[in-house]
Amino acid sequence: MNLARLPVGGAAVVEAVTDGSPVSARLLDLGFVPGTEVRALRRAPLGDPTLYELRGAQLCLRRSEAERILVRALPERETP
């Protein structure tokens, strides 16, 4: 599935970033590389963009960008 469909509170592992466009290259440089764990923290009040946590930083992406990132959802975990 793509990252935009990850529910808030859920975690996932990046599998791939679609196509080789400059936008995708930038997403890779921002840390959305295969194997990276991403958590969806919040959605903005109007439903877009969404705040993600990855590599110790918090980053917002709009739906259009998040849809380019393919992820595998991780099973629900108890947050410590």
């Binding site: 936008v23 009040p45 963009p49 917002c60 709009r62 960008e65």
Partner: protein
Amino acid sequence: MSQALVADEGPGAPPLRLGLLGSPNSGKTTLFNALTGLRARVGNYPGVTVERREGEAEVDGRRLVVIDLPGTYSLDPISPDEAIVARLLAGQVAGVAPPDALVVTADACTLRRSLLFVGQVLRLGLPSCLVVTMTDELHARGGRLDSAALSAALGVPVVAVVGHRGLGLVELRRLIGHPESWSRPVLPPPGDAAARAGWADSVAARALVAPPQRDARTARIDRVVLHPLLGTLLFAAVMVIFFQLIFAWAEPAMNAIDAAVGAGQDGVRALLPAGLARDFLADGLLAGVGSVIVFLPQILILFAVLYLLEDVGYMARAAFVVDRVMGRIGLEGRAFVALLSSYACAVPGIMATRTIPSPRNRLVTILVAPLMTCSARLPVYALLIGAFVPARSVWGPVGLQGLVLLGLYLLGACAAVVAAAVLKRTLIRGEGLPFYLELPPYRVPPLRLLAHQVWGAASAFLRRAGTIILAVTVVLWVLLSFPRNAPPGGLSEGEAARWHVEQSIAGRIGHAIEPAIAPLGFDWKIGVGLVASLAAREVIVATLAQIYALADEDQGSLREALRADTDARTGARVFTPATVAALLVFFVFALQCMSTLAVMRRETNSWRWPAFAFGYLLALAYTASFATHRLVTWLGS
């Protein structure tokens, strides 16, 4: 301009050039200020809107030039503005020597992410050193960093610095003076993004003795600030206060400046004998200086609040909350603040676009900002509405005059939305940049940094835009005061003033453009007012008062004069409902403000965009005005 930034080749060896690189929020600006003090020189790189900052430092008698490169997450450019960094590092920017060595900043708390960028920098092969910032924050969050292990893993020198407290700066200063002795990596980090991420993880694993816990304070605050309801209310409250600050709180200071300039003018008139020198000093030069510094209260307040919100970490949150709305018209969250500021004045509004990371979005925001109803339009609206719109109630306390005023505000805002959407789809198209926005942890900004930033913005305004505003004010004074013929005898003081305006260059321009503005219902007197209002929109009120030979600028008598004015040939009223409506609409759209043009020139680094903005807004104003005149005439018949 660009020559002025090239370091003076003084006696001795040429200065060592250090490039300062880092991601946004990595403490790069704090470090730049700590290294160079107040001696930063600000300009633009040729052809792009990217700000260029260089500062000087001295280490062990060796002169250093520190080049503050734009904050970025990647060296792989996807826009012309980002490409400037790559071109500069390769020595391909005309007139700018490439750096001899690089200093990279990385936030200790987001080391795993920051190292992705550090890896890209190390691949350049230039002598490099890493400055790890925010180590105090790392410790507070239970993390620990082994700088020596990080240095060994990277192969370059590493210094931990807490910029605003000055910790580590002595060590850093000693280091940057001698890049020739810096260690170099044995192997460059991998070029492929995924492989580089693996490399970054292994480096971080060796350097971070204990990784930081999640920032509990930030998480706590964000539960309120990013809450769907509370966050939206807070956003609205912050924006209202922000608007109030630049709209209302700046006013006493602006009035004081006006009064001081007025007192200065009176002083000049009292001291000097009547004549050209006196008029020039009082009405040309002093008025010009006044029209520059009158912006300072707004600019100082705006930037103090803006940089405070930015440095605390709220601006990114506000952008997050409002991004969806701005995204609809092709802009981004931060444009909201700039457009809101433009309700007070487009000059600080356009300067506020500096917080917009995407240069394309920034340009669109700059081009539509003059459509927001600024406070200088208010005196014009007040005069015309007061004179020609009946003060009757429409519904309870809601009066017709207030509704017309509200309509004018809404018309401007709607026009800005439409113009932004159109510009984004036509002229300023191009490869879509991805939208991404980092939410930094909340931080208490050091006051010194804040003062630096505010002073930097104000002095840049004074030097770059202020000089243009001053020059144009003087030119407009010349247009309105020459030729200086003696009026025919027997005229009263007021009639003589009117006679002077009519035979002045501006008066002749008013007559000359009369055929062009006649379709809008405007006569030469309004034409002169339009020319004079280039100095500032509200100047048309004073000019009309002068033309109608009024001794003072009393609004009541000017309203009467406007209502009573008739065409000398036909005897018809000059200010028909159609003409008044057309004039109001003209002021909604037209960019009648050379201060805005000057500040656009300063922020976009060319006359191309101010010229374009002036042109498209004039065309819009003329068309809308003409249509309004026709419509109201037709409705009235």
